[in-house]
Structures are given as C-alpha cells and as structure tokens.
C-alpha cells in the first residue's frame, strides 16, 4: 500500500511540477532568474536558413544562457506563418520575437502597438555602431516614424540563376542583357530540346513574379517608374503591364517547364537542380543550394551555374528587397524580454554570424570586411554584384512591395493561368487584375 502511495505521489509531482514551472514563465538557475523568450520562426529545418538560425540559437545559449532561455516555435511554411502572425496580431498576443514577412504584416503589427522602437537598445548591442547600416534605420523611420524593424542584411539583391553548360550547348557564353537577346536565347535552347525557363504559377507564383517585374521595367520609362515605387494599385491596365503580361504568357506557353502552370517552388527548383531547365529567377538564399550535395548530388555542380541581373533597357533591372516592411521585430512584452530579444537580433552583427549568413544565404553586411574564403564560398552572389556594377544595373524594390497585397499577387497568378491557356483575352486579364487591385485600394 505504501509503495502504491509513493508511486501516486511521484505521479502527482511529475504532472504538477512542469505545469507549475510553465505557469511561472521563468526559472531559477544558480540564484539568477532566467527569462523565457518566445520566438515564432518559419525558417527552420535543414535548409540553409534553418541551419543559420540553429547556429544563432546555440550562440545565444552560449552568450546569454545564464539570463535567457529561447523557446522557438517552428512554423513550417511562410504562408502558415503569415496566417499565424495575422491571427496573433489581431489578438495582441505576440511572441517576444517575430519576423515581419512583408509590408502589410509589419505595418499591422506596428499600428496595433505590437512592435517596440529599437533605438534605446542600440548601445547595448555589440558591434552596432561598426556594422549596422544606418540607411536601413532611416528607411524604416521614413516608413513607420520609428525604428521598429531590424535588418542588417538588406538589401538582398536578386537576379536569375542560369546553367552555363546548357547555354554553351547553344553557343551562348554570356547571359543576355536585353529581352530581345533573352528571347533569342530561349528560342535556341528550345530548338536544342532544352527547357529555357523554370516558372511557376502555383503557391504565390514566386519565380514568375521576378520576370514579370523585370519585363514591366524593360518596357519603357513609364514601366520602370511603375515597378520602382511601392504599393502600386492603379496601373494594371497600363501599356507596360499589358506588354509584360503578353511576354510572361509567351514564356509560359513556349519556353517554360511543362508543369509551370500550377507548379510550386520546390518542383521548379528540383528541375533547375536536375538540369531540366536552364534558368530560374530567385534570391541569393538559393545560391548555397547549388553547392549542397543533398540538393544537387555533387558540390561541383555550382561551377556550372551563373547568377545574373535581369535583362532590360534602359539599365538592367534587378528585383531586391529592402528593409522597409520586412525584417525582425520585437513585441512590447516587458523591459527584460525586450532587451533579451534585441540581444538575440544583435547576434547578426557577430562576425561568425555574418560570415555564416554570407556562406549559407548570400546575405551580406555592407560595412563588414569578409575574409576571402567566405567570399569564395558563395561566388554566385559575388558574380551577381559584379555584373550589376559592370552593366550599370538599377535596383528595383521587391515585387511584393510593388504589388504589395497578397490579393493582387493571387489575382495575377490565377488569372495568368486562364490567360496563358487562352480562356481569357489580354484585355480581360489586365482588367481582372485591376479589379483585384481596386478591391484592395477600397479597403
């Protein structure tokens, strides 16, 4: 009977103690109180980004483990993350650290009073004055009035990756600088039985949107101006957009992978890694995949790949993200947690973190002098930057800041399916996209 009571006592304690500990939200360690920090993150798993964050978690534990415990909630998928954060913004119950994925999310969080001004914490962050790009702070202040978004790596300049070996097979040694040259190349590749472009209209039409933006910019000064500003909601029946729509249809129907209509990113990327397509548009975070044996089988595969700005006249347009609406944020959950959160984001300015970001993600901090071996580890991004300088390429805002709302992006991709299949005319297509934009504008 006694042993039964003892077992019962152990059971009760086993259940009650964790509950009690969880309820308090902090623990005692060596007399010091440890504060729990919650962080919702979608950059997880074995991806380069996931590995980079894992490294930061360990570094945070080493540097601040005696004061803080970081509890990471992994949310698989950026769409799911967007939904989760939207819900949390509406309830006001935010994790201590979170990532704003786009202008809409960052603005909503700020307007609901769920983002702190980071200015008072700057002097407690190591290397802040040396490396943090002050222009990024100014951009955020211009957009929000306060410095509420942390991003030391912006802007992340994007272009398109191409398979040099496949280009060589049709006698082309350099990436095209104009869209005339681009379509000429597509024709040659197609005739040689090589699928020229990896495109997708599923998910959010990611790889297609890059080309779309570049084509609008390439049309004329008017087009360039359209995609060089944020929050465009009234120009979808304009000539530049009509022109770009026709050309995107041309690519989808003649020069893209057969599953482009409805494909998601993973399917298209797999075709690029498998040398089934010759080009794919994407950001610098894809660069390390080309040297990752798990993705491409052999790390030397990267030697076949080049990274170039998009074609265009006047100067070549390159999609990029800046730090206005997306980046890391901190919820106003109390002074101690706010400091802990800022210390975690501050790790971005540690040399090993900056170097790892360059190697794994192609993200660079402009003021930091990288060792040559780090630059050599990710030559593709360096190649893109070189071509941008050589060609005098302009940097455009990211397409998600141009047609900023997910509803418009959805309107573009879904109706492009119908337009590419010949179910609707160009007039109907642009008019429908404009209606989507009008609905957003009325909100």
């Amino acid at each position: 009977m006694k042993s039964l009571r003892f077992v019962g006592l152990i059971f009760v304690l086993a259940v009650a103690l964790p509950i009690a500990a969880a309820a308090t939200g902090s623990q005692e360690a060596g007399g010091e109180e440890i504060t729990e920090l919650t962080f919702a993150n979608f950059i997880i798993g074995d991806s380069p980004g996931g590995q980079w964050y894992e490294m930061k978690y360990q570094l945070f534990e080493e540097m601040y483990g005696d004061r803080y415990e970081l509890v990471v909630e992994e949310v698989p998928g950026d769409m799911e993350y967007n939904e989760k954060l939207t819900l949390q913004i509406s309830t006001g119950n935010m994790p201590d650290l979170y990532i704003s994925e786009n202008d809409t999310m960052g603005r909503s969080a700020y307007e609901e009073g769920l983002a702190i001004d980071m200015t008072p914490y700057a002097d407690q962050i190591e290397n802040f004055d040396r490396y943090y790009p002050q222009e990024n702070i100014e951009q955020v202040k211009e957009a929000f009035g306060e410095w509420v978004i942390w991003d030391v790596f912006a802007p992340r300049v994007s272009g398109y990756y191409y398979n040099q070996e496949l280009f060589s097979q049709v006698g082309v040694d350099e990436p095209p600088r104009t869209f005339d040259e681009f379509f000429e190349l597509c024709e040659k590749l197609d005739e040689a039985g090589i699928t020229p472009v990896g495109m997708m209209t599923g998910e959010n039409g990611w790889t297609m949107q890059y080309w779309y933006q570049a084509l609008v910019a390439a049309h004329s000064d008017e087009g360039f101006a359209m995609v060089n500003e944020s929050n465009v909601i009234d120009q979808f029946t304009s000539e530049p957009f009509r022109y770009a729509s026709e050309q995107v249809k041309r690519i989808l129907t003649n020069y893209a992978n057969q599953d482009a209509i409805g494909a998601g990113y993973d399917m298209v990327a797999a075709q690029m890694f498998g040398e089934r397509v010759a080009m794919i548009a994407n950001g610098p975070w894809m660069a390390s995949d080309y040297g990752n044996p798990d993705r491409v089988g052999d790390a030397s595969f990267r030697d076949k790949i080049g990274y170039a700005p998009f074609p265009g006249t006047p100067p070549v347009a390159v999609g990029a993200s800046d730090s206005k609406g997306h980046g890391s944020m901190v919820a106003p959950n109390g002074e101690d947690k706010q400091l802990g959160a800022m210390l975690f984001w501050g790790l971005d300015l540690q040399p090993q973190v900056m170097e790892s970001a360059a190697e794994k993600l192609g993200w660079y901090v402009s003021a930091y002098e990288y060792p040559q071996e780090v630059l050599d580890a990710n030559p593709l991004v360096g190649q893109l930057n070189t071509l941008i300088n050589e060609w005098g390429a302009e940097t455009l805002p990211w397409f998600y800041d141009v047609w900023t709302n997910a509803v418009i992006a959805d309107g573009i991709t879904r109706n492009m399916d119908l337009y590419a299949a010949g179910r609707i005319t160009l007039d109907e297509y642009v008019q429908t996209v404009q209606e989507f934009a009008d609905a957003v504008g009325e909100e």
């Binding site: 939207t86 599923g202 209509i261 409805g262 399917m267 109706n415 399916d417 299949a421 179910r423």
Partner: protein, 293 residues
C-alpha cells in the same frame, strides 16, 4: 425533480457544457459575423456596421464562387453516389471471399492512414508531366511521347483532383464490410434452402441489412466534401485559375487572403445550412437510425 432525472442531468451536464462552448458559441459567432462588416479579426467587438444579408450576396456573386459551387456539387455527388456504390460493391464481393477480406481491409486502409500532404505529393508526382508514371503508362499504350500536366491543365485538373478522393471509398468499404459481417449466417442459409441466387441474397438480405451503414457512410461523404480542402491545397491551390476551388477552400481564401471575415462567415453559414439539409435528406432516404427491416 425525480432523483433519476436529476442524476441524468448531472451526468449530461459536462457534455452539454462542452457542446455549448465548442459548438453553440462558435455557431452564434459564425452566423452573427456574417451579418456585419467584419474585416478586423476579433470577437463581437470587431464587428462593424450591420449589413443584413449583404455578405451573403457578396459571397454568392464572388467570381470564384461561380466555380466553387458547381465543383463542390459534383464532388459531393461523386462522393455520395459513385464512391458509396463502389464501396458497397466491393464489400458485397468480399463477403464471399472471406479469406482475402482481412488483407483487402488493410490495403484499403493504407491510403487513408498516410498523412495527407505525403499522399497528395505522391499522387502529384505520379501525375507529373515529365517525371510521373501515369504519362509513361500512356506512352506504353500509345507508343508516342506523351506529356500532360494533369494538375496544371484546365481540361484535366478537375478530373485529377477528383481522382485523389477515390481512396475515401476504401474506408467506406471497410465500414460496410464490418456491418455485413454482423449479419447472421442463418439468414443466408435459410435463403439458400429456399433456392435464392447469390444476387438475390445480396439484393434482399445484404443491402437491406446494411442500409444504416450505407446511410452513415453517405453522411460521412457529405461532411467530408463540405469541409475538406486539404488535397486541393497540396495539389493545385485551387488552380489553374479557379478551376479546382471548392466552397471550403473559397472560405479559407476569404479568411486568409482577402481577410474579409464577414463574407467568409456568410460562406461558412451557407455551407453549414446546405450540409445540414443534405444530412437530413440522407437520413430520410436511408432511414438512418431505424432498426433493420
């Protein structure tokens, strides 16, 4: 109050309480939310101007609904007729093949045990234009290169998504088989003595005896089609265009993409009402819950 009644109420109280919290309150929020301007997430306090039935009009006139309504209807009919009939047929055949029944039951259960995204991805890869086995099989028969983007082609996407629902018939078959196995052997033996053929035994004994279960799986079919969009989300995201939208996916999009919760609530209410009517209808047709004839 009699002691027995009091104790009955006491024992029922937790269930009633859970029912109120989990079902009645959300139901009230759903319907009330559909009557107001409702674009900020939140409870009653987030609801704006009273709009009456305007959100219902907006939902019905949404261009995506033009595709979602007929799609849902067709999938509903397929699920509650073709798939149930298929399940019944398989169950009747297996009644006679007692030795393989266990094996078949396991085989049918497998697709329904695989987690949905994995199953959807497997099906998507099978039907991939370049890598998929389906196109290769077609090539074997036609002896010509064949490369159809089944899920991305406007002509075939609907059919392709429809095929992904077929494994559900396996679960329906298992349920009907279970009910068939509870029919006393004496009934079949008596029928045999009277000279009944196998077809007559099925028509006059098996089918009437499993009427309740057929009604039950039909109800399950209705509910699955009125609230499920997982397979659509993984295989086509409702595309190409809007060709594979169904009503639940449209409501999902209205919540997370459009962020218009008033219209989404109106859609949710419509689905609920239509679903309840259909369940009522199925119960009437199959006389679900009544004793075996």
């Amino acid at each position: 109050m009699k002691t027995r009644t009091r104790w009955t109420l006491i024992f029922l109280a937790p269930t009633i309480l859970v029912g109120i919290v989990l079902f009645l309150l959300p139901l009230i929020l759903l319907v009330s939310g559909s009557l107001f301007e409702y674009t900020e997430l939140g409870g009653l306090e987030a609801m704006g101007e009273f709009l009456g039935l305007e959100n219902y009009r907006r939902f019905m006139s949404d261009p995506r609904a033009e595709q979602a309504f007929p799609n849902t209807l067709v999938w509903l009919i397929l699920q509650t007729t073709v798939h149930v009939a298929l399940a019944l047929l398989v169950a009747i055949v297996l009644r006679r093949l007692k030795r393989v029944r266990g094996f078949v039951r396991t085989v049918y259960a497998i697709p329904n045990m695989i987690t949905l995204p994995a199953l959807a991805l497997a099906i998507k890869m099978m039907m991939h234009p370049q890598l998929g086995v389906v196109n290769r099989v077609v090539e074997v028969f036609t002896r010509e290169p064949f490369s159809l983007n089944w899920f991305g082609n406007l002509e075939t996407a609907f059919l392709s998504v429809s095929l992904t629902v077929v494994p559900w018939a396996g679960i329906a078959a298992i349920l009907i088989m279970t009910d068939i196995s509870s029919i006393p052997d004496e009934l079949y033996e008596s029928a045999e003595v009277d000279g009944a053929t196998e077809f007559q035994k099925d028509r006059l004994i098996t089918i009437p005896m499993v009427r309740n279960m057929i009604g039950t799986v039909t109800i399950l079919g209705v509910t699955s089609m009125m609230n499920d969009f997982g397979m659509i989300m993984v295989t086509t995201w409702g595309g190409p265009g809007y060709s594979t939208y169904n009503l639940p996916y449209l409501v999902y999009q209205m919540i997370w993409s459009d962020r218009n919760y008033g219209i989404a609530n109106a859609g949710g209410t419509i689905i609920l009402v239509v679903g309840m009517l259909l369940v009522f209808l199925v119960q009437k047709i199959y006389r679900v819950g009544r004793a075996r004839d």
